[in-house]
């Protein structure tokens, strides 16, 4: 869970930083997007690096879902008779929404790939002009798309907040002082990442990027 999560988190950081290149202008952003297909050339043929990266990410996603499924099935088996009266005393919204939040994020990722990678659900869908696809995709009249992206990213934020803290713990974070630091670091990281991602659709919808 922790190891596959860390691979996905590393990708999320790079992806977020890459997105911010949209603020450097159309030419620069499109150039960056095309460069992603050329990483590793001429050592590797064009798009090979991209496909290697996609394979690793898909494996990490499957591993992450597999581990989560094992944990969920163990939980279910560990309490065959439910409580008639149950009160949760520890407030931890992020930790309690990991499983369904994860499902929502997966559905979002599928939608996101169809929108801005393959272009099937994008109003422009032109692979040679990613900048234009983003601008068309988050156009003000498609506000519901931005709303869905926002909800999904907030869900991702909760998932990351507990996920990051939990990864520290799984990998042996063991002191009370370290626990406080890990909780703060996880919160700051989740907010920074979600904030960085949300800048793009909100910049488009407000006309800052056009």
């Amino acid at each position: 869970m922790a190891v596959t999560g860390i691979i996905l988190v590393l990708f999320l950081i790079l992806h977020m930083l890459g997105n911010l290149k949209i603020f450097t202008g159309e030419t620069s952003f499109d150039h960056y997007a095309h460069w992603l297909r050329d990483i590793g050339t001429p050592l590797l043929p064009t798009t090979w690096f991209l496909w290697i990266q996609r394979t690793v990410l898909t494996a990490a996603v499957l591993g992450h879902i597999g581990a989560a499924t094992v944990l969920a099935m163990r939980s279910r088996a560990a309490r065959p008779v439910k409580y008639a009266h149950r009160r949760k005393i520890h407030v931890n919204y992020a930790a309690r929404t990991m499983r369904w939040g994860g499902v929502i994020i997966l559905l979002f990722v599928i939608y996101h790939i169809l929108d801005l990678t393959t272009g099937h659900l994008n109003p422009q869908g032109d692979p040679s002009n990613p900048y234009g696809n983003v601008v068309a995709g988050f156009a003000p009249e498609r506000w519901y798309v931005t709303l869905f992206y926002t909800l999904a990213l907030v869900t991702l934020g909760f998932h990351l907040r507990h996920g990051a803290f939990s990864a520290f713990r799984s990998l042996g974070q063991q002191t009370p002082k370290g626990e406080r630091r890990a909780r703060i670091a996880a919160l700051v990281f989740a907010v920074a990442l979600v904030g960085g991602y949300l800048l793009v659709p909100f910049a488009v919808i407000t006309g800052l990027v056009a």
């Binding site: 094992v70 944990l71 163990r74 939980s75 088996a77 560990a78 309490r79 065959p80 008779v81 439910k82 409580y83 008639a84 009266h85 149950r86 009160r87 949760k88 005393i89 520890h90 931890n92 930790a95 309690r96 990991m98 507990h162 803290f165 939990s166 520290f168 713990r169 799984s170 990998l171 042996g172 974070q173 063991q174 002191t175 009370p176 370290g178 626990e179």
Partner: protein
């Protein structure tokens, strides 16, 4: 105080069980929760009914026998308190109180509110001990123990093995109990020889007993009547990773 109790009744392990309602009159706010159950049981016996079976022993919060889920909270509404140390002043006249046993596959119900917690004994038997002779007190200066380590070990040694962590855990995991024992032993010099075989043995025994997996939610530490901190689980994880690496390396 007059109360309405809804209590889990189950004749034996094979019985399906059900919640049964009992009115209780004239409860003193100074009674402990278990005394209130005693009063109800005395009346049930006089009426020729089967008294309610519940676990209890010391009634001073140190034996770990009492194990009641009260209104959906392990050991009831007062934090850091076992059910036997809970007083009826925590409740109000006219309240309805639900009382259930711990719910976990590893803790099967024996009768009514009594569960079998042998699974904890199996975890202890798989490594929760030291082989160093500890009967006679050694010279205190011969093996220095840092104060912080001694304090953390003592904090974990306060675990009474009641099982509230398992009862409260949304995953039905017994990791807080296991981690408390690991922490207590692995922080002290006497626990070093078996440190890494212990953690593997105890975690394996935990999983075999049918407990769920830990997802670091924190419900256990909030429910623990002895305030065992959640970070003990990180200590267990660290020892477990080191033990796995050592085993792979040897």
């Amino acid at each position: 105080m007059n109360l309405t109790l809804r209590i889990w009744r189950q004749h034996g392990p094979e019985d399906k069980g059900r919640m049964v309602t009992y009115p209780v009159q004239d409860v003193s706010p100074d009674m402990s929760f278990l005394e209130m159950l005693d009063v109800l049981n005395e009346r049930l016996i006089l009426d020729g009914e089967e008294p309610i079976a519940f676990d209890h022993d010391c009634r001073e919060g140190i034996c770990g026998m009492c194990s009641l889920m009260i209104n959906g909270e392990a050991h009831g509404p007062q934090r850091g308190t076992t059910a036997c140390q809970l007083h009826m002043r925590q409740f109000s006249d006219g309240d309805t109180i639900d009382i259930e046993p711990w719910r976990a596959r590893a803790f099967p119900v024996v009768k009514d509110l009594v569960v079998n917690r042998n699974a904890f004994d199996q975890i202890i038997a798989a490594g929760g001990y030291v082989t160093a002779p500890t009967g006679s007190a050694p010279e205190a200066h011969s093996v220095p123990v840092p104060k912080a380590d001694a304090d953390a070990a003592f904090e974990s040694a306060a675990c009474i093995g009641c099982g509230a962590c398992v009862a409260a855990c949304p995953n039905g995991s017994g990791m807080l109990f296991t981690a408390a024992k690991i922490t207590q032993l692995s922080l002290l010099p006497q626990g070093q020889p078996e440190r890494y075989t212990r953690v593997i043995g105890m975690v394996d025994a935990h999983d075999e007993a049918g407990f769920g997996g830990c997802t670091n939610i924190g419900e256990c530490a909030s429910a623990c009547p002895k305030g065992i901190p959640l970070n003990t689980i990180g200590r267990l994880n660290r020892d477990y990773l080191k033990a796995t690496a050592k085993r792979a390396g040897s």
